[in-house]
């Protein structure tokens, strides 16, 4: 006995049936993601760990040989791995702190009410549009030993070239990286600056604090979570740096810019040394895992586990 606008096809379902249907729908919705994660995240993760226990021949088709922990300890203690790790750490030091300092500085500069400030904001965030490859190719050309404009400006025309110089190659790659990431860092810091309540700064201003003091005593403490986030992201990026190395120096000169990811690439795809590459991959994983866990503690504040 239904009224005017009741549809046909009513069906009774027990609470249990409904639960089952709801659960089935949930799994159907999760299925695409779960399949992708299983095949392209968890399976390769486990497989890479097992690969580290096998010595793999440089030519496909030959049998793998189980060597236990030998290969892992062998790689980790090798001078090649250690120098690559050290280069990666240096690369991180050269990119993270200067990058954040520059990004924060520009954000503070652009965080004032001036006519036309929007134009400057757009300019400072513009390098977001450049990918690692774009930035690298630009600087590869500008740093060309014979016709590079920057080479000429530095008075190095006709020399070996900055990217070919064992001392200056890594700092140069780091500088390109800082420039390429500047837009992102600037956007990040600007967003954080906008979150600093104006009345707090006004209060400090009324209390007679100088702009310098206001920044270090009021603004900066409120920015520390973002700065910390940027440090973690920057460190992860340093350990994943590849494109700029591949395009600018190919790990040279004298392997002086061979960061861990590039070393991994060489071992896996140039020398077919999958076993060694797996050990490098795991060490990279360990570092990024620690960094990501730290970062997730920040994400956690925004993500609660259960409804």
């Amino acid at each position: 006995m239904a009224s005017t606008f009741m549809g046909a096809g009513r069906r009774r379902r027990t609470v249990r049936e409904r639960r089952v249907r709801e659960g089935a729908l949930a799994y159907l919705l999760l299925l695409p993601s779960l399949v992708a994660f299983a095949v392209f995240v968890f399976y390769p993760l486990v497989k890479t760990f097992s690969l580290a226990f096998y010595r793999t021949p440089p030519f496909p088709g030959l049998p793998k040989r189980y060597v236990g922990l030998d290969q892992i300890s062998g790689v980790l203690t090798s001078s090649e791995f250690r120098s690559s790790l050290w280069i990666t750490v240096k690369f991180g030091l050269l990119t993270v702190a200067p990058g954040i300092a520059l990004g924060l500085g520009l954000a503070v500069l652009a965080h004032q009410t001036l006519r036309g400030i929007g134009v400057f904001r757009t300019i400072f965030s513009s390098t977001v549009a450049t990918s690692v490859a774009v930035a690298s190719v630009i600087f590869f050309t500008l740093l060309n030993p014979t016709v590079g404009l920057v080479t000429w400006m530095l008075g190095q025309t006709g020399g070996t070239g900055i990217l070919q110089d064992p001392t200056w190659a890594l700092p140069a790659v780091a500088a390109v990286t800082v420039w390429q990431n500047l837009g992102f860092t600037f956007i990040l810091m600007s967003a954080a600056l906008q979150g600093v309540p104006d009345d707090l700064l006004e209060a400090a201003s009324v209390d007679g604090a100088s702009p310098w003091l206001r920044f270090w005593r009021v603004t900066f403490p409120l920015l520390t979570p973002t700065v910390f986030f940027a440090v973690v992201i920057g460190s992860i990026n340093a350990f994943q740096a590849f494109g700029q190395i591949d395009l600018l120096t190919e790990g040279g000169p004298l392997n002086r810019t061979r960061v861990l990811t590039y070393y991994l690439y060489q071992q896996a795809f140039k020398s077919n040394n999958d076993g060694v590459a797996a050990v490098i991959a795991i060490s990279l994983f360990a570092v990024t895992l620690v960094l990501t866990l730290v970062q997730l503690r920040f994400l956690e504040r925004r993500v609660s586990y259960e409804r």
């Binding site: 709801e22 659960g23 729908l25 949930a26 919705l29 999760l30 695409p32 993601s33 992708a36 994660f37 392209f40 995240v41 968890f42 399976y43 390769p44 993760l45 497989k47 890479t48 652009a110 004032q112 001036l114 400057f120 400072f124 965030s125 513009s126 390098t127 977001v128 549009a129 450049t130 990918s131 690692v132 490859a133 190719v137 050309t141 500008l142 060309n144 014979t146 016709v147 000429w152 420039w179 992102f184 956007i187 990040l188 967003a191 979150g195 973002t226 992201i233 591949d246 991994l264 896996a268 999958d274 991959a281 990024t288 990501t292 866990l293 997730l296 994400l299 925004r302 993500v303 586990y305």
Partner: protein, 269 residues
């Protein structure tokens, strides 16, 4: 006085930041011997537009761009869809092992692409996908980050709306597409822009799973275009401008979404 000082600092910084971009654009319009001239030319009085067409055709950028659009576009669509589905399940449905599966999604954020590289390449080869769009797209169809971002947005949809829709006669699918997705448009927009940007900028993975120009993306195309000889240096510059342009347009059109996407998880609030 102080205002002048401020502008001076701003302009100096702007020039430094913009310098590589401006030089790239100017050089793309100069003749190779003009580029090499010292002191350098500041303005192209006879702009060489043909370096762009050379980059597009002989440099195959037209092909690379198309590949990049297809790959980044499909990755974005796939990631948004799988993220909407997963986020809906986590936000609105009750099911066994919900907590565990949520942690599984969380765990994917901790596995960086480098560790899975060797095996994923083997998988792609075994599936017969080497040097194909499938190799570039399928491994990135799901995004743990996207599921999180959207779940957060979906949780702000009041439970009352779900109840009202249930009474109005809307099941989960229609509620998802008619109510939840429209209400979460800002978050979905941010995720879309973010996913596209990341997919567009990929370098290492496309490098190792492609070998022919027919499927190579623009980032790998730039590698080919990297000039070592002076006579094509203008084409290299033009190529980088072309390669950067789509993302620049994206930045201009979707600045808000991009900022939201890039800063998601960074700023408390």
């Amino acid at each position: 006085m102080r205002t002048t000082l401020r502008y001076t600092v701003l302009v100096v910084m702007a020039v430094i930041v913009l310098f590589p971009i401006v030089v790239t654009i100017i050089n793309s319009l100069l003749k190779p011997d003009q580029i090499a001239a010292r002191p350098p030319r500041l303005f192209p009085d006879d702009p060489q537009w043909h370096s762009y067409s050379t980059a597009m055709d002989a440099g195959k950028l037209r092909l690379y761009l198309r590949n990049s659009f297809v790959v980044a576009g499909l990755i974005t669509v796939a990631q948004v869809m799988t993220a909407v589905f997963a986020a809906y399940a986590f936000a609105f449905l009750r099911f066994p092992l919900k907590r565990t599966l949520f942690v599984v999604f969380l765990a994917t954020l901790m596995v960086s692409g480098e560790v899975t590289l060797i095996i994923n390449r083997q998988t792609v080869v075994a599936l017969g996908w080497f040097n194909s769009y499938a190799a570039l797209i399928v491994p990135f169809m799901a995004s743990g980050f996207g599921a999180f971002l959207l779940r957060q947005a979906f949780l702000t949809v009041p439970q009352d709306l779900r109840d009202a829709a249930a009474l109005d006669g809307y099941g989960h699918w229609r509620f998802m597409f008619r109510v939840v997705v429209p209400l979460a448009r800002p978050a979905i927009g941010a995720l879309s822009v973010f996913s596209f940007l990341l997919a567009w900028n990929q370098y290492l993975w496309p490098l190792i799973v492609t070998e022919s120009d027919s499927v190579r993306t623009v980032q790998i195309g730039l590698r080919q275009l990297r000039a070592t000889s002076i006579d094509q240096i203008n084409v290299t510059f033009a190529g980088t401008v072309i390669a950067a342009l789509p993302i620049f347009v994206l930045l201009v059109l979707f600045q808000k979404q991009l900022v939201r996407g890039l800063t998601a998880g960074a700023v408390k609030g």
